[in-house]
Chain length 393, copies 4
């Protein structure tokens, strides 16, 4: 598999976890593809997975894993030793990413980019070359691409983004402000005919022009914005209020987190993209407009241990008001890594089965699932179980 954003906390946890599971040094906890549900599905074994990727920052997977161990302890010390060789080998498969029009916050972090700036066309070609040579070197016939880069500022959509042809022209004309790195990453995957998982909220990947390319290549794809924490709980809890005709008056959500993710979301222009993803689903589940608020604040001391407080004010019989509040304390990378791994395996299977288009059965993993307008977690789960039933038979 190929990871855009290959040295981030999530990517590092993903690679470390996969290698550890492959060597029998970690359990499959957190992985759906290792449960009863997926028994009998002809999935690729975890230990056969090979990793490479693009990345903007310098460093290695081992360094990144060490940093994580020190900050949150989520990667245990013994794994650092046991996996040294594997991590060093994978680190060699990490190539320079692209930072074209990535916005000030991300560009500030970009240390590993081509020395002299390339034209967009050359960048796109280079990205494709990197992936192809990775596949050849490792003798891979299939490769799933996953976008795990930081949230980019919203891209303002124009007619240029509406067709593959118009976008092609803009790239040929090197109009650098018309797209973001996510656009190039998605395009690279599409043009190579590789499945693509868009795990971030950035809106620049699944623009109509790119979707057109995926459809033309008949490739399966899915996104966007992984649902791992507060929003996951929201989509599990909100239906309960509907089941009882309890009117939700207010749903306030406050997220605090540290880490690079926190730094980048502290930038208002990147935060906006994230918030749009998080805020819309309640009125869709409940069927009426309500007062909602989603805050994200940067709290460096938390590192990746994201904490969220939600306050839900609701009205019942005789219009009496009551409340529910919850505090979620989870590690983002630990929650996201296994579902990325699950999706890689399921996307690989989908391609092998000749499927294409949005993988609707993966909607339960996303805040804004492509091709699915239902945000009720339980009904999304139903889509997955139905798919598995059918894929097994």
């Amino acid at each position: 598999m190929w990871i855009f954003g290959a040295l981030g906390g999530l990517a590092t946890t993903l690679v470390v976890g996969s290698k550890a599971i492959g060597k029998g040094k970690a359990s499959g906890q957190g992985l759906l593809t290792e449960t009863e549900l997926c028994k009998g599905l002809p999935l690729i074994p975890i230990k056969k997975l090979v990793f490479g990727g693009h990345e903007l920052r310098r460093g290695s997977l081992l360094q990144s894993a060490r940093e994580i161990h020190e900050q949150t302890g989520t990667i245990p010390y013994p794994l650092l030793n046991a996996l040294k060789a594997d991590l060093d080998k994978t680190s060699k498969e990490i190539k320079a990413g692209t930072a074209i029009n990535a916005g000030r916050s991300i560009q500030k972090l970009a240390e590993r980019v081509p020395k002299k700036p390339l034209s967009m066309k050359s960048e796109l070609a280079r990205l494709q070359r990197d992936i192809k040579s990775f596949m050849q070197r490792n003798r891979l016939t299939r490769c799933v691409c996953v976008n795990l880069t930081s949230t980019e500022p919203q891209l303002k959509l124009t007619s240029t983004h509406q067709s593959a042809e118009a976008l092609s022209k803009a790239i040929a004309g090197d109009k650098r402000s018309t797209l973001r790195p996510s656009t190039l990453y998605a395009l690279a995957a599409a043009k190579l005919g590789l499945p693509f998982i868009h795990f971030t909220p950035s809106n620049a990947a699944f623009i109509p022009a790119v979707i057109e390319e995926f459809e033309a290549q008949a490739v399966p794809y899915m996104g966007c914005d992984g649902k791992t924490g507060e929003t996951l709980v929201k989509s599990a809890l909100a239906p309960m209020f509907k089941y009882r005709n309890l009117k939700v008056l207010t749903w306030q959500g406050y997220n605090i987190l540290g880490d690079r993710d926190g730094v980048i979301l502290a930038d208002a222009e990147n935060k906006r993209a994230k918030l749009e993803s998080k805020d819309g689903l309640l009125s869709k589940i409940l069927g009426y407009p309500l007062h909602t608020h989603v805050g994200i604040d940067y709290v460096p001391s938390l590192n990746d241990l994201k904490t969220a407080w939600d306050f839900i004010h609701f009205q019942g019989f005789l219009d009496y008001k009551m409340s529910l509040q919850f505090t979620w304390q989870g590690c983002d990378a630990i929650l996201a890594a296994p579902i990325v791994l699950d999706m890689i395996r399921l996307a690989e299977l989908a391609q092998r089965r000749g499927e294409s288009g949005p993988m609707r059965h993966l909607s339960c993993f996303f805040k804004r699932p492509q091709g699915v307008d239902d945000h009720d977690l339980h009904r999304q789960w139903h889509l997955l179980t139905e798919y598995v039933k059918q894929a097994r038979s």
Copy 2:
């Protein structure tokens, strides 16, 4: 409809609410039978409902409503005036309940009982007579019975409880320790061929001998233990952990509440019955044993504003531990009254449609639903929507 426990907070809220809705003085918030879901179902209109019941304590509905207004404000002051006549009229339909073998906590509250103790056989006959004369007086052809009495101490089941015949003999022999008031109430309903909703956790109502009677009369029935607060949230949230293969290590739940309910649950023998209802569903939803605890403590200052804190400790990828905690602050009567009202209307419909046996489509309203072993709230909800779809056509 006929209410066992007709002056409790829940019954009072139910009657006040029904009368207020009937007169257009309250919205239908909290009622499923007033939502889109039930549109087109030929349900009995709320304003046509007539109420009577059995009760152990003295007093009137107006007094009880006033007390509730002062304690929690859930019944607004203006309704006290507007509904005075209705409440006084309904209060006249309240007859002395039975306290035979009800346990010390409940017996302490029993002020309204026959002056000289009757034999069990005579008590049972008296209860039936009360209901029949209520129906005649009000010219009712159908009547749904609901048990809203306080939680009784667990009844130890023996062979006497296994068949209608054995139970009949015990009653004839006046063996007063072999049953509880709930047994008599359920039997009275069954023998009259009336639908019965068992809303409390008491295990003495749905013993095999009583079920046999309901089946013989081909009457619809359902219970037991209404799911209104912490357990409702539990059954909505627990599936989420399964969807992500997050292993729940611990689920601690602490409930605090005041009121008569709180007093009676402070008595260890009554509490046990309640806790069995609340504690079992997690391992059934999750599919594995886990460390759980449910506490209930009496906090007089809260009155009926039940507060619950749940702490959920779970393990994800790389066996990392994370947590979710929630605080639920709800008024029990406000949460329970509308679902009792919904069930009365749906039970009346079921009888009219010639249905009998456990009303499985009402399982989402109960902690221990008769005839349904699935505790996943979302799948229980599915049973209801399927039923409505079919009943509508």
Copy 3:
């Protein structure tokens, strides 16, 4: 006493409460001046207090009290009837306030202002006249003024605000952008030689020019920004971390509230004033800089039932990180009214005792106490108990 902002929720609760206590219809709960602490102090009896004030909105105390009853139930229904005559009488003592340069949010609410705009000089004279005629009409020899108006936008301080003389000139020249209503209210009190309690965060009242006037008149005064909720808890809890050398890394505070207060604080320019008050005290108590954040969001469904969630991340032995979080659910007016009443009585006493300048012994009631730089609640409390001891002897 004279209240600027006489129809707000706080003022209404204050007047209703005082009248109710005066008539023996409410307990003195919440009042320090009714506890053992103040036994023996020659305080003015509550029933002797007479109220009047300035206000921008139309309406009456009875209407405002009714609205509060319906929204939060904090004023019980029976009091509305019992106090009708008193409230009507007091409502007659409410005069048009001033909205000169009050900022857009407040000006939007201003319905009760002089028909044709007066010059600043005339406004100031009018305000003084209103208070004097109130005192004469009610034969009062002393009158404490309290500012309970909504938070104004920050006033940018210039040399005009540094001396009474400069300010006088600005007023004479009708330079309307150089001051806010709070400046005029404070000046009116100062010029009349009346004690002044500044309960709001607005920075325009205690500018050097106004302080000069208070000192010239030898009047006691105190402020600003009443400490009633989250900040109160903060100043009680923060010392604990110091006592144990637990390093507070982060203190995030999120406040949600409805009501007019919420509406006005939703306006960024008014919120800024509030936040400055709330955010500074932690580093002063702890003695080192730390990561803090205070959010205030408008949640209409809460009305005056302010809810706050604070998350405190701290580091202990071996630099291990731990956390404390709290949720505060209080009614702002209920928390503020008794301390305003306490301060009125203590200010009246202070003037009677011939004291002048900042009433430092009242520092425990304020977020930014005049003349006291210590924000440790416990040491502020010590100032009060020492004062009382001395005043009693």
Copy 4:
């Protein structure tokens, strides 16, 4: 210093921390004796401290430290390597403890006891011999003893416990049910003239007979039951309600924890001792009786990461009810170790300064401080600062 319970989580953290600080491998965070407050006090340097102790379980400090690292990560991995030699050396100074009449839960854990049971008299002599030989071997002139053993079941006090003479007779007569291990540990210290810190809630240590011995030897001593978590927060917060005449109606506290401490407190007879310590202080601080509850439940998945939820229901102006709730998430050993270390140094100083009797200035560290009836944390802190001021001069 000499530790009773030398291999527990607290003792291990204490020794590891002291050694790490001594070698410059850890900061002094959490230690009051390393802050501005104690600057100028002639305290013994941390690196000069030598440790030994009694213990019932087998194992070594290194094993115990490893276990802690794996369970909670509070002891970082690198320290395990860096301190190996120190820990091994200290482990050799750990001798068999005594389990005489320790109660079933503790006796179950007792692996390291004399092979054939000794008489109480011989046990006492053996304990003293162990400490004396430790002092000689390490050439120590002073030694502070600290009791960190698990909570014992309550000892029922009789006349035997009222005088040193009566207790002596009971020991001579080998009446094994008249005392607990804590009694023998405290007596051993007293008879050797060594300062004694009683950090656990066990009531068997500070019985009058033992106190008599301490006073006879003119030794400083203090206890009992370290205040490190929920109770600490309680004693910091409760005064706030007094300062505002907010009547606390209810204070419910629920503690959940794992580890040996949790196992032993799960035993009802040991829990009772703990609860008495935790529950009494509120009414003392507030000055009136109130509804309180303290629960402790065993949650194995938490290990030493104790979590507590407190719900405080209080009444303000117009008798309106409001609430405050907090969740405390701390590691017990991390919170306790530095204050034990602080007290060792301060006790050593006290003995050097010729002080004797209860060290009242340490009351802020205890749930039931000897010789101090004031539970207000802030006033207890004042006692400490006053002592330090005086000791410095």
